[in-house]
Amino acid sequence: MSVRHALLALLSDGPKYGLQLRQEFEDRTGEVWPLNVGQVYTTLQRLERDGLVESEGDGDEGPQRGFRITTEGAAELATWLRTPPDMTSPPRDELVIKVLVALRLPGVDVRDVVQVHRRYVVELMQQWTRLKDDAADDEVGFLLVVDAELFRLDSVIRWLDAADGRLARLAADPPAPPGPALAPRLRRRQGVRR
């Protein structure tokens, strides 16, 4: 989550104070991502250092200090909007690791492990859906964030379903011992994303 660029985006409307920035950020994202004031100010300081924003007051540290976006800042924001996030290297997903571990451990039913996670994710989705149900139609930002979360969780469910199906087929028709080639192939990829 790039707080940096979110603040730059908020400042592109016009100069704002730090507290004001925090409030607007939370409003726009439907309060899904909480932000503390310290995080705001640290980020603003880095932005100022990089010359992307400039403060309005005279070095007056505190909540009354206003910030304005610079030309460089606007250019940086425009570039960022159009730069796709790095999706080439797989994230080190804990759920995937858990299932892989369960696969190797004797005495563990992998499909039960999968089902535990599936149920948990569906419960999470139920809660998100309830939030969506309660939201008003004009809370666009909030609804978009909830949708994003639902689709992300949905993708997890789909992966779990696919894994379940693969495991079920494996159980029905056991192949030659599971290939250890899986890990090396993954490791060979460079730059595992955080």
């Binding site: 939370e26 309060e31 899904v32 909480p34 499909r111 089902q115 599936r118 149920r119 994710v121 569906v122 419960e123 999470l124 989705m125 139920q126 809660q127 998100w128 859906t129 309830r130 939030l131 149900d133 309660d134 639902l150 689709f151 969780l153 949905d154 469910i157 789909r158 379903d161 379940d164 199906g165 079920a168």
Partner: protein, 240 residues
């Protein structure tokens, strides 16, 4: 008393080498006003569960109770009557009878029950109005969009005093916006007191349900716990 109760229901298709055990001792209870989603991979028996719950098929073992009455004790005709008085179906893609307008499709179950055409039409129009389809009442199925067709099917499933709504992948052929509209309507019907069962493999659709039942190889393997409330999801500060 549950609107729908399945007790140790099993279903076997074929015989001998071709025997397929679609359901193996399923227990399920759906209260009035509750929406239950049944999730499972294809071949898990979830569609069979729905057809047995809706008395379209007879279970090989176990008992189905609708409003506390055992279906197995009923004759074919009594089951038909039960379907048109208590049960509404929504299928994936084929729901409406060509040759009948939207409102005629909706009021057909009532007419089958011997209610006069005019009275049935009034009830049908009411149901369509609920779903915001008044202006499409005289359209034939092929003049309706996919989403509209599913909405008409939902109106038909709840018209009259029907209080058990069974849906099999009701949003299967629809885009996400229409899919959400359809499941919202089903949920709204449940909030008015209808007991609903949605069979799906779509987690987003299932997440609208009060309870999600997981089916695998003809058995109920798991179900969700009652939700704690949305707050738990967000950071303590978020919903200040």
């Amino acid at each position: 008393m549950s609107a729908l109760e399945l007790r140790d229901v099993s279903k076997v298709y074929g015989e001998g080498a071709n025997e397929v055990r679609a359901l193996r001792g399923v227990d399920l209870s759906v209260e009035s006003g509750a929406l239950v989603a049944v999730m499972g991979p294809s071949g898990s028996g979830k569609s069979t569960l729905l057809t047995i719950a809706g008395s379209l098929e007879v279970p090989s073992g176990g008992e189905v109770l609708i409003d506390g009455v055992a279906v197995s004790a009923m004759s074919r005709n009594e089951r038909a009557r039960l379907r048109r008085r208590a049960i509404g179906y929504v299928f994936q893609d084929f729901n409406l009878l060509a040759g009948l307008t939207a409102v005629e499709n909706v009021s057909l179950p009532m007419e089958l029950d011997g209610i006069g055409a005019r009275k049935a039409r009034v009830a049908g129009m009411e149901a369509l109005e609920e779903l915001g389809l008044t202006d499409r009442a005289s359209s034939f199925p092929e003049e309706l969009s996919g989403g509209e067709r599913q909405r008409v099917a939902i109106a038909r499933a709840v018209v009259g005093d029907r209080h058990l709504l069974l849906a099999d992948e009701p949003s299967g052929a629809l885009d996400s916006a229409n899919a959400e509209a359809v499941i919202r309507l089903i949920r709204a019907a449940c909030q008015r007191g209808v007991a609903g069962v949605v069979v799906t493999h779509d987690a987003q659709l299932a997440s609208w349900a009060d309870r999600v039942v997981f089916l695998r190889d003809g058995r109920v393997v798991d179900q969700t716990r009652p939700p704690d409330g949305p707050e738990s999801l967000l950071a303590p500060k978020a919903k200040s």
